[in-house]
Symmetry: C5
Subunit: 270 residues, 5 copies
Amino acid sequence: MSTNIPTVPMTLEGASVLHQMLRVDWNAWTALDDERRAALVDELSQWLDAQSGSAAFGMLGHKGDLMLVHYRQDFAELLAAQRAVQRLGIGAYLSATSSYLSVVELGLYESTRKIVDELKAKGLQPGTEEWDKAVEETLERQRGAMRGRLWPEIPNTKYICFYPMDRRRGEEKNWYTVPFAERQRMMHEHGLVGRKYGGLVKQIISGSIGFDDWEWGVDLYADDALWFKRLIYEMRFDEVSAAYALFGAFYIGVRLKADELSSFFRPQTA
Amino acid sequence: MSTNIPTVPMTLEGASVLHQMLRVDWNAWTALDDERRAALVDELSQWLDAQSGSAAFGMLGHKGDLMLVHYRQDFAELLAAQRAVQRLGIGAYLSATSSYLSVVELGLYESTRKIVDELKAKGLQPGTEEWDKAVEETLERQRGAMRGRLWPEIPNTKYICFYPMDRRRGEEKNWYTVPFAERQRMMHEHGLVGRKYGGLVKQIISGSIGFDDWEWGVDLYADDALWFKRLIYEMRFDEVSAAYALFGAFYIGVRLKADELSSFFRPQTA
Amino acid sequence: MSTNIPTVPMTLEGASVLHQMLRVDWNAWTALDDERRAALVDELSQWLDAQSGSAAFGMLGHKGDLMLVHYRQDFAELLAAQRAVQRLGIGAYLSATSSYLSVVELGLYESTRKIVDELKAKGLQPGTEEWDKAVEETLERQRGAMRGRLWPEIPNTKYICFYPMDRRRGEEKNWYTVPFAERQRMMHEHGLVGRKYGGLVKQIISGSIGFDDWEWGVDLYADDALWFKRLIYEMRFDEVSAAYALFGAFYIGVRLKADELSSFFRPQTA
Amino acid sequence: MSTNIPTVPMTLEGASVLHQMLRVDWNAWTALDDERRAALVDELSQWLDAQSGSAAFGMLGHKGDLMLVHYRQDFAELLAAQRAVQRLGIGAYLSATSSYLSVVELGLYESTRKIVDELKAKGLQPGTEEWDKAVEETLERQRGAMRGRLWPEIPNTKYICFYPMDRRRGEEKNWYTVPFAERQRMMHEHGLVGRKYGGLVKQIISGSIGFDDWEWGVDLYADDALWFKRLIYEMRFDEVSAAYALFGAFYIGVRLKADELSSFFRPQTA
Amino acid sequence: MSTNIPTVPMTLEGASVLHQMLRVDWNAWTALDDERRAALVDELSQWLDAQSGSAAFGMLGHKGDLMLVHYRQDFAELLAAQRAVQRLGIGAYLSATSSYLSVVELGLYESTRKIVDELKAKGLQPGTEEWDKAVEETLERQRGAMRGRLWPEIPNTKYICFYPMDRRRGEEKNWYTVPFAERQRMMHEHGLVGRKYGGLVKQIISGSIGFDDWEWGVDLYADDALWFKRLIYEMRFDEVSAAYALFGAFYIGVRLKADELSSFFRPQTA
């Protein structure tokens, strides 16, 4: 589909992702009797366990109390997950304060160039049917090779950091008018910083152009939240971030597995 | 009316459009007994069926639960549709979180030039009564020829993507001070990208200058939501989008026909 | 008072104007019995009839359900009108979602120049008491001559379009640093476009510097809402609008006279 | 403390000021019986009378119903006043929609220069203890001389206009990088316009850097609200306002003395 | 980790900080009987006393009624503190209006340079394992030396001023593209102003990149609130603030120790 290569980088898509930021109606919740409450938390825990791609986090601050992250096959399944949460007994005590809809994505700034060169070397011409078919075959092969990163499990860390971001489209500085080779170079340098934190912070990028109010969603997972700050602060000096990154709200959550979920929702200190 | 041609492109208008983003009061809804609930969903389904230009979508995320899209003859009919939804039994469980008001529109960047040339060739002068009459006659002919696109049916796809947008009026980059021929060229290139996705994404543009807070509304309809992202991402590198497009919030919905509507509103998983 | 002429254009002020955007609590309203409801709508209708300068409009979209527009002698009378609406029986079912406070205004870009020239020709000097007195006398004469436009009746059309606007005060483009003669020329060209739509759209400009969050309020009245879009779209290419106009939210309403008011507030379709 | 003179203008501070914008719960209020309501309004009136620095205004539009303005010795006294209002019987029917916290301030652009020159003439050096002590003594003398303006009574006019404002800190136009002498010249010209309206509009400037979300608060008091618009419109063409002033929301109130307060809160038209 | 020195300044982190801005439901609170109310305030007081790093402030204006500031070991402990407040009896009468999440931070603009020079003098190369280890050892030593500033007690003053801020990343003026030496010089000059107010205002800087919506949080503590304004106003003329500082909302609180807390929550004036 992308014949103007190398203007638009080729992109691989994987899992559909919904972040739900939810407020707990603590007063109504506290008014329940212990047994009922325990049953409702149990039901939520069991539902989470039964899903392969859903996890719960306790949120810090006023932006919500509970963050649920869902990875699914497509948007119809995400809508089903969203309705399923509302249908749980605990759903009556939750209301949405925010959310984010996106699709796990790998932007192929490096490969795009290579693929185009190879196809041109084979004598194919952009804009022809043969070209489009060859591109699609190559992408399909890469989707297979990248399967693990496109359809990831939710990392098993203590903390999550989620934020949406844009590439700047200012009157002077405009990412979308920067030549492909320049963008490729900046994205490459950007990637090097991320790699330095590879063992400490697990990063999942999802695309949301056409789906939500920012262009990308970023999930960072780590066992020590300080690495979120260190990684993002260092990246902020990258050329691509310094000049072209705009950031939305930041959401921090503490992982709630079955046990912690139960103690999080307990109205008395244990 | 447009004597300064070729500054202002001629424009054809068709159906009046209202997008309603609605929140469901799930707690009150769940408190109803099954029979009453079924009756209310039935009533909504029948009302939707009885309208030629209304459709329902389940919304992803916190921006609303239900999106209703209405195409009508004029704004008075849209107000009647809005009041009709409030008057339905289910209306008591719905509240508006957002909305968008617009009119289906075809901007004639290509034809404007041709029409002006033809009329001048006939010896007519802009600003005269004859000129205005000849322009109006031409537009009326085009309204007839474009009837299908100006008064469209709501496409029968699984997903909808709606967003409003502006042309930038910045201190440096200002669409409204770009010469007509330049705008025509950029819109032409923009259209070529849209055409590539023609079989995959059905696009309906509506104008909202003077009606709502952005200048245009865009509805995309597709059976696979990924095409929304691919189309909009590729377009973002167009000159006209890169330099002159500003985007509002994005709303994604999953089509709810009678059956799905009934299961969407069921308080238990089937 | 304006001695620095020709920097500040002379301005004539007339009626004080309040736009009220109100939400109806439909659930509480529907819960009333028919007789009570009819009595409350009657009371509102009679109150509106008894005012010379108040009118009601049904609003499209989520920004409100009912728009009330009040023209009065001064702000104290507007406050009385606002309290009077709250005191009506129906007031208990209305809450404000937005509002706009302004004063009908005629900016004398053309006359300012002429007046200054005439007074200078008479040997008067700006900044003197004689000058100020002569200016005030001239303005008073013009207030008399323009009485009909300064103290207008609310036009009797089917649709209203209201929006607030600013003149841009950007770092580069700044209306308030443009020389008077340039501003006068741009406002003159701007006025010519408005005049073309004279028979189709009735326009009332009110000033809100010091009164509300934008500098001006614009009311357009027409029997066909499409003319709002056509007029504003054509104006958007004017030099003064293209470079110096910033727009707030747009509100569209459908006129509700006594009969329509009654049917608008009926909880069942007639 | 300000040794970098003449970068930072010396400033005198006086009364601490809190503006409270409050919504009345009219439905709950109306549900009270007449006697109870009269008693609560009486209690509010008596409380206001007993304060030397508090006044009430009926607000136009949807930003609130009642504005209370409090002038006090310091912030602890303002907190006491705020709690006192909540503790009044009527406090149960009021909720805050907005507020503004500031301190009456006189910016000494003119005197700063003179003081510095005098102290230098005496052989004192900026940055020394002697210099700081001499500056503080001078300021203390001025605080005494300006006592009436620093600790003003709330002017006894019919209308109030309140708005917050900033000096622009843009990428190009930045007030805080303009040389002192330039700023002094612009502030001087700005003051001349204000002086022209001296008999018609009473102006009280308060500083809110470090206290609230804008840098200054402006209170205008007049018996005819039109003068607010005329004064601010003329000032908008001043160099300092045109290039460097950014404005927040505007709040207009009508003075409610004991009698008017009683009639304002009456649920029926008298 | 920071091999690109001297691009990214080295940074020391200490206590995790949560600011909670809370609204009191005064009507429900007032409806309690005196005994119950006293018991709930006692419980809160005792909880605060039992924490080494929590304090309460009465808030001025509409942004909230009560500010709780918590300093803890990490985010998990902050989440526990947040849940503990909700679990207190008084928690049922509090709801969050805002919050801020950050980590106490010392930016080592001065030392970064020195450390790099020393390590290079020892023959170490940036980007090597030895370099990273040596840097980490140096930082660890500094963390020890700076322990008191990294893990501060909440200063025992009458007033608090909290606000978040960013360094500007504009199209022209962009902090993150300024050479390290320039940034170091500007931060040095900025620090000199702060030092002048050292005895009057206690300042605690916390970093929030990756944690909350602004890059830094600033807490100022003083016994006279005027010093907040004087300090921030003087700093606003610093090169780094004038050109590169963007500010969020400002929150002012009056310290509530056990006695004051009790009188603050009393529904009648003592």
